[in-house]
Amino acid sequence: MKILVCISHVPDTTSKINFTNNNAEFDKNGVQFVINPYDEFCLTRAMWFKEKQGATITVVNVGGAETEPTLRKALAIGADDAIRINTEATDGFLVAKELAAVVKNGGYDLVLAGKESADYNGQMVPGMLASLVDYNFVNACVDIVVDDNSATLKREIDGGNETLTANLPLVVGGQKGIVEEKDLRIPNMRGIMMARKKPLQVLEATGTEATTAITSYEKPAAKGPVKLVDASNLDELISLLHNEAKVI
């Protein structure tokens, strides 16, 4: 099985978010970048397929040279090779179209991608990619079993789960549950050394045009201090929630 795992290069989840250039750009100063957590779940699931059923794993990212350490980390975890598409990932549709060119050329059986990235949370790239290459698609996936040419999947629905079947080739938008967090792989020294020698191919972008553009950012308005209520006076809390906040 040929597996492609799409990797986003995102700020660590503990990052403080700030902006520069008159709030027109994200301030990367002092920010640690990591593999998008949702993609990390997918990469670990791909490793499971590789070890249990036999598969090759290619990881792909759309981004500049500064994203290569993130791809190298994916190689250290166990991916076989990497592709970087050399353009800035400014828009979900643009990213999906660039990835589609790789998928069409690579003939992958299974494409795994986090259901969203932890920076822009658009939740659009996996579905757009699937549609562009005419692969089946399941989003918010919390389990996948592949048997020859078909897959049985579980996806989250509001208030439960749905079981689905779909033939390969298939794009999956994955999330926590597709593997457990305790099973996530941490690169060991041998993996890190081997990753240095694994192929990382840089492809020039197709030059597709973005459909959206971010013009500026803002942070949520600062909130006032917390109103503390004495633990022995919970009637006051109920009164505040009823009369002031009007939520009960």
């Binding site: 700020p11 989840t13 503990t14 949702y38 979900g92 549709f93 259901k115 932890a118 920076d119 822009y120 949370n121 658009g122 659009m124 579905g127 757009m128 699937a130 549609s131 562009l132 698609f137 399941v138 989003n139 049985t152 996806r155 989250e156 629905i157 509001d158 208030g159 439960g160 789960n161 079981t163 689905l164 033939n167 999330q175 926590k176 549950g177 305790k182 973005a210 459909t211 959206t212 553009a213 971010i214 013009t215 803002e218 942070k219 949520p220 917390v226 109103k227 503390l228 209520v229 004495d230 633990a231 919970l234 009637d235 809390l237 109920i238 929630l241 009823h242 906040a245 939520v247 009960i248």
Partner: protein, 318 residues
């Protein structure tokens, strides 16, 4: 030209989010000076949408659509958008809508902005405000394509009445084939889900063990709320993953979020920032969550929560 909204329903009745997207659609249609059309599936009585500004309702009746399928629903919206020459298509942010919207965007070659929290600040260029960085910031995004898709974040715009004399017509759409087949659906019955809840009662490691969740469920029951938990709690297996709220868990945009025994890690706060009112109950007065809260009680959950349940019962009965 028109604005098209997808008014989602459950068991033939409109969801609250349907009324919110119709309200939002009315605002956008007014800004553009065009009509508002709503698409509904398997709804018997659609006139409720006229109260929120839908001038025309296209209702599809088809048993094969009783179970959601992303390809089929994207096909429906594509056909409705083309029929009505819709330049803006608006949907909610349910798990199903987030599954369908990217497919629709490709079908229509439309720019898609998800997590939108306000009416367009400008219509030329078409500019919307969106949640970004897991609710730690907002981005102002221009959509440049001829057709535009907006995914409206829950509880971000509100429900606004705007009565019109509407009409409903049956929409005979072609149901597209899908190779993704649903074989089983398991729903947690008898509980309010986080997606539907106006109030969420959430608890963390301060509860000391899964055996102590009875009082959390009782409090949620009194408030008709959903239950949720912090990441360590779901990692420990005390509660199901579906209840994990936070950056890699579920986002919560409820009217009231009550956090009990949760310290307030930055990833947890990112998941609940969109909630309107936050109450924190914690023994540690220095817990970071108090900085993000509107109301706080410094106290032991095992003493505070049972008292709160009794007082809320009395309040509800009064």
């Amino acid at each position: 030209m028109s604005v098209l909204v997808f008014a989602d329903s459950k068991d033939g009745k409109f969801k609250k989010t349907a009324l919110e997207v119709v309200s939002y659609g009315k605002k956008v249609a007014s800004q553009l000076g065009v009509n508002l059309i709503a698409l509904t599936v398997n709804v018997n009585e659609t006139s409720e949408l006229y109260n929120y500004g839908a001038e025309k309702v296209l209702n599809v009746s088809n048993n094969s659509l009783s179970t959601f399928n992303a390809n089929k629903y994207a096909g429906l919206l594509e056909q409705a958008a083309n029929k009505e020459n819709a330049s803006v298509i608006i949907i909610d942010s349910s798990i199903d809508s987030l599954y369908m919207a990217p497919l629709l965007a490709v079908n229509l070659n439309a720019g898609y902005a998800s997590n939108v929290v306000a009416a367009p600040s400008n219509t030329a260029p078409f500019t919307v405000k969106r949640q970004a960085f897991s609710n730690k910031a907002f981005s102002h995004t221009e959509i440049h394509s001829a057709k535009k898709i907006i995914g409206l974040a829950k509880n971000s715009f509100g429900i606004h009445e705007s009565s019109v004399a509407g009409t409903t017509e049956n929409f005979e759409a072609n149901i597209v084939e899908s190779n993704v087949v649903s074989t089983n659906i398991e729903r947690v019955t008898g509980k309010v889900t986080i997606a539907d809840a106006d109030i969420v009662v959430s608890a963390g490691r301060g509860m000391k063990g899964p055996e102590n969740w009875g009082m959390i469920e009782e409090l949620a029951g009194v408030l008709n709320a959903a239950t949720a938990c912090s990441k360590p709690v779901s990692d420990l297996g005390w509660r199901p993953h579906g209840e994990h709220v936070g950056q890699t868990g579920k986002p919560v945009a409820s009217n009231l979020y009550i956090a009990i025994g949760i310290s307030g890690a930055i990833q947890h706060l990112a998941g609940i920032n969109a909630s309107k009112v936050k109450v924190v109950i914690n023994t540690d007065a220095e817990a970071p969550f108090f900085k993000a809260a509107d109301y706080g009680v410094v106290g032991d959950a095992f003493e505070v929560v049972p008292q709160l349940i009794e007082k809320l019962k009395a309040f509800k009965a009064a």
